[in-house]
């Protein structure tokens, strides 16, 4: 194993070295970096050209210039000992400084989106595999194909128009006309009818129930002016938390023994109590407080699972921790929404933002600032999730179907295991093995994949840095961007290989 990793690291290093060389030549060849100066009519034109040639070493041929760049970049390999020097941009800024600012922006944008896309995509993929050739399966398959075929910038522009501009206009007077509520209710009814297939009576019942629930909820939200000052409220939190407890129990352990359920319900209960007990703490907490609270939640969940778990201690711990974190998340969202009203006033009613990562010069309570970030993240996240979600559902579905037809799954069923155990323990774990590779690729790819999203939503992240620098034929920032993106690809590919061997003992590393 160790030999394999060392070998992979060495090979990856040389691959990256070769890739930077190729990339450097391509970038150097992509245009004329002096063009804007040569076209300018400034009196000191010659001096400026001279200065830029000296700044970028343009008098050295590109292949040799690469080694100058490499010497600086080599410093980044040994942190603290040597100076990390990725050169200067065309305007004389240090590339390392530019990169660190841009990198943090991009990370904020992509991490949440990628994780969300993975969780959603894998869940939906599993469900469609279990319900193969059902209405749901066909609907999801078609949507996945549609999402595959969507140009992300087109979606992004649409989202900006309808998700932000029109939505904000509507927020000024957030009422839903009864006709719209009926139409949306019908759509929701049809949706659930397709999802929950069955005979005619069941379909009609599903449709009616979903229609009444959705249209009624919309009407209620509209009548109570919920959108003007949204929040979850204690009733919704309680119901969702208890539902969450049942859901996690169903997934990790089933209901044969009640201990796990009790642990999960206790976690949900403590969470709800905390809603009241921690009122003063959560008034304007710091980020550290939230992290600490999350850690306490995990600890309490483990304690509950340990104490109440009985024979199924491990499962009980899992269920309690997950339920606890989920309930905590609900409380967090509730608090964020609680800041909606004051936040909306401060940004003049334009709640959903279309440009940038933060409102410039915005200062407020923890919740207001959090909401500010969330509203800026919302639309780009949706855009990224839509596209990767499609890939994940397709891959998970086919991988899951493959596994479900294996002999060992049939064996598991024939020896009388509950369906939950078969799906979660026998099928799902094995189906995840090929998905790990996809995850690694996806994580590596999102850094460059966010180029377009950043561009449309005006985030000054790595993608914007890349595009603006490339347009100016500014080689050093482009190379800096590539160094990050390329390293991510190499590292994650390596992790995928190692993870693959770790998950599937049949694969021997050599």
């Amino acid at each position: 194993m160790l030999v394999f990793i060392v070998r992979r690291v060495i090979i990856s290093f040389f691959i990256l070295l070769a890739a930077t060389f190729v990339m450097y030549l391509l970038v150097a060849n992509s245009g004329n970096p002096l063009q804007d100066l040569q076209e300018s009519r400034a009196p000191n034109r010659e001096a400026q050209i001279e200065a830029r040639i000296r700044l970028l070493n343009l008098d050295t041929p590109a292949p040799l210039r690469y080694f100058i760049w490499l010497r600086g970049a080599a410093g980044c390999l040994v942190p603290f000992a040597l100076e990390c020097d990725l050169g200067q941009s065309i305007q004389g800024q240090d590339v390392t400084a530019l990169l660190s600012v841009a990198f943090s922006q991009t990370l904020q944008l992509v991490i949440a989106a990628t994780v969300l896309a993975m969780v959603l995509g894998i869940t939906v993929g599993i469900v469609t595999a279990l319900r193969q050739y059902s209405g749901l399966d066909y609907t999801v398959t078609f949507s996945a194909f549609l999402f595959f075929s969507l140009p992300i910038f087109w979606v992004a522009v649409l989202l900006k128009e309808y998700g932000a501009i029109r939505f904000n206009d509507w927020l000024a007077d957030p009422t839903i006309p009864i006709g719209v509520a009926v139409v949306l209710g019908t759509i929701s009814g049809l949706f659930w009818m397709i999802v929950i297939a069955g005979d005619r009576t069941r379909r009609v019942t599903t449709f009616a129930a979903a229609f009444v629930a959705s249209a009624g909820a919309l009407w209620l939200l509209s009548e109570t002016q919920w959108f003007a000052d949204p929040g979850l409220g204690i009733v919704v939190i309680t119901v969702t938390a208890v539902g969450l407890a049942f859901l996690t129990t169903a997934v990790v352990a089933g209901f044969t023994y009640r201990n796990v359920l009790y642990a999960a319900l206790a976690a949900a209960g403590i969470g709800i109590v905390c809603h009241f007990a921690l009122d003063s703490v959560l008034d304007d907490p710091s980020g550290l407080t939230i992290v600490l609270l999350a850690l306490v939640t995990v600890a309490v969940g483990m304690g509950l699972g340990y104490g109440l778990g009985g024979l199924q201690r491990r499962q009980a711990i899992q269920a309690a921790v997950l339920t606890g974190l989920g309930t905590g998340g609900l409380l967090f969202v509730d608090r964020l929404l609680g800041a909606w009203d004051s936040y909306s006033d401060r940004v003049g009613g334009r709640v959903i933002a279309t440009i940038g990562a933060r409102t410039p010069n915005f200062q407020g309570t923890f919740w207001e600032e959090g909401l500010d970030r969330a509203t800026h993240l919302l639309l780009p996240t949706i855009a990224i999730v839509l596209i990767s979600f499609a890939t994940y559902t397709r891959y998970t579905r086919s991988s899951m179907l493959e596994v479900l037809n294996q002999d060992y799954v049939r064996t598991a069923r024939s020896k009388g295991l509950a369906e939950r155990g078969v799906v979660v323990k026998h099928a799902f774990r094995n189906a995840m093995i090929p998905i790990t590779t996809l995850m690694a690729f996806d994580f590596a790819g999102v850094l460059s994949g966010a180029v377009i999203t950043e561009r449309v939503f005006g985030w000054t992240g790595l993608g914007t840095l890349f595009v603006t620098s490339l347009a100016r034929v500014d080689p050093n920032p482009v190379m800096g961007f590539f160094l990050i993106a390329g390293t991510a690809v190499v590292v994650f590919n390596m992790l995928a290989d190692i993870g693959y061997a770790f998950l599937d003992p049949r694969i021997r590393l050599s």
Binding site: I15, L16, V22, L150, F153, S398, V451, F466
Partner: protein, 331 residues
């Protein structure tokens, strides 16, 4: 997948069973079975028809090269903007309260300087399709050649070629395509398609190599080698026909990806350059006009989605047709 028998044994087994029951069984070749399965794939057929309609519409309406089309306006003449450039296309018949079904003077409206937007969009479709086709073709040919060579010869050849592939894979596609587009975008769409095709072969090369690694151990390859057949002939005549399905499917999906890649590049400004146009460039140019003149944004976008979606469906149908084990057996 629920069928435990291999696809090769199905016709034989069916023939025996058919004879036993006195039924009439038609013998089909592999190609016929593939074609049959493909034509029965409804989504793929819908995609194929949509794609053909779009191609015919795009190339017949404004014509191409020096061949004139049936549409009386072109995509470069400047005219006066009538009625704020609103589209005159109407599809709601009068008995439904619409304006009747007619194309009107400018069915897709006009742009800022009064160019006919229908002609512009059609030109964009032509250019995008051409680029995507060239990219798909070049990428497939190179990927197949590199993968086949590496997989057949193994040893040092494979090591060199696959390390080279690894190097190319390290560079994210959009990034290298943007860099190349920055340099070659103004050289016309054929050059642009060629250079982008030069960097999109990596996935296929790995796929073909993998297939070749297992194929070269098969008896028929050994037999051919024992008979003294040249390596080139073994690769082209004996091995490639066995994985033609994999290659065709990959090529189709590569075309779909290339449509979106071209659109993305043109959107970032590194693709097709003025005075030429493409679907991505049209969207990029008019994205700010969305709230005032949304049709300038909708029409090219709908065409991109329609093309990419139908090509993806065709690819899916081809995959099912070539490898019925992967999906529902449709015959």
């Amino acid at each position: 997948m629920s069928d435990p028998t291999t696809p090769g044994s199905i016709p034989a087994a069916a023939a025996v069973a058919g004879d036993a029951q006195g039924m009439n069984v038609v013998a089909r070749t592999q190609a016929q079975m593939v074609r049959r399965r493909f034509f029965r794939h409804r989504a793929a057929m819908a995609g194929l028809i949509t794609l053909l309609l779009i191609v015919v519409l795009a190339f017949s309406s404004i014509g191409f090269a020096s061949v004139p089309g049936w549409w009386d306006k072109d995509y470069f003449s400047i005219a006066t903007v009538e009625n704020r450039g609103r589209p005159t296309l109407s599809v709601i018949p009068t008995w439904l309260g619409g304006d009747g079904m007619h194309l009107g003077e400018h069915p897709f409206g006009q742009d800022n300087v009064g160019k006919d937007y229908f002609a512009l969009t059609m030109r964009g479709v032509q250019q995008s399709l051409t680029i995507a086709f060239i990219v798909g073709l070049v990428g497939t040919v190179i990927g197949t050649m590199i993968g086949a060579t590496a997989g057949y010869f193994r040893g040092r050849v494979e090591a060199v070629l696959m390390r080279f592939t690894d190097v190319m894979i390290t560079i994210p596609l959009l990034v290298v395509a943007a860099v190349l587009g920055r340099r070659y975008g103004s050289s016309g769409i054929v050059v642009l398609g060629l250079v982008i095709g030069l960097v999109t072969w990596t996935g296929l090369a790995r796929l073909v190599r993998g297939e070749f690694l297992s194929l070269r151990e098969k008896e028929f390859v050994e037999a051919a080698r024992a008979a003294g057949t040249s390596a080139r002939r073994i690769i082209v005549k004996h091995m490639l026909p066995n994985i033609v399905g994999v290659i065709i499917v990959a090529a189709t999906l590569a075309v779909a990806a290339a449509i979106l890649l071209e659109a993305a590049l043109s959107f970032l400004g590194f693709g097709v350059q003025d005075p030429d146009t493409s679907l991505g460039k049209l969207i990029s140019t008019y994205q700010t006009a969305f709230s005032t003149r949304p049709w300038l944004f909708w029409f090219p976008g709908v065409f991109i989605i329609a093309i990419a979606l139908s090509v993806n469906f065709i690819g899916d149908g081809l995959r099912d047709a070539f490898d019925p084990r992967q999906n529902r057996v449709r015959d």
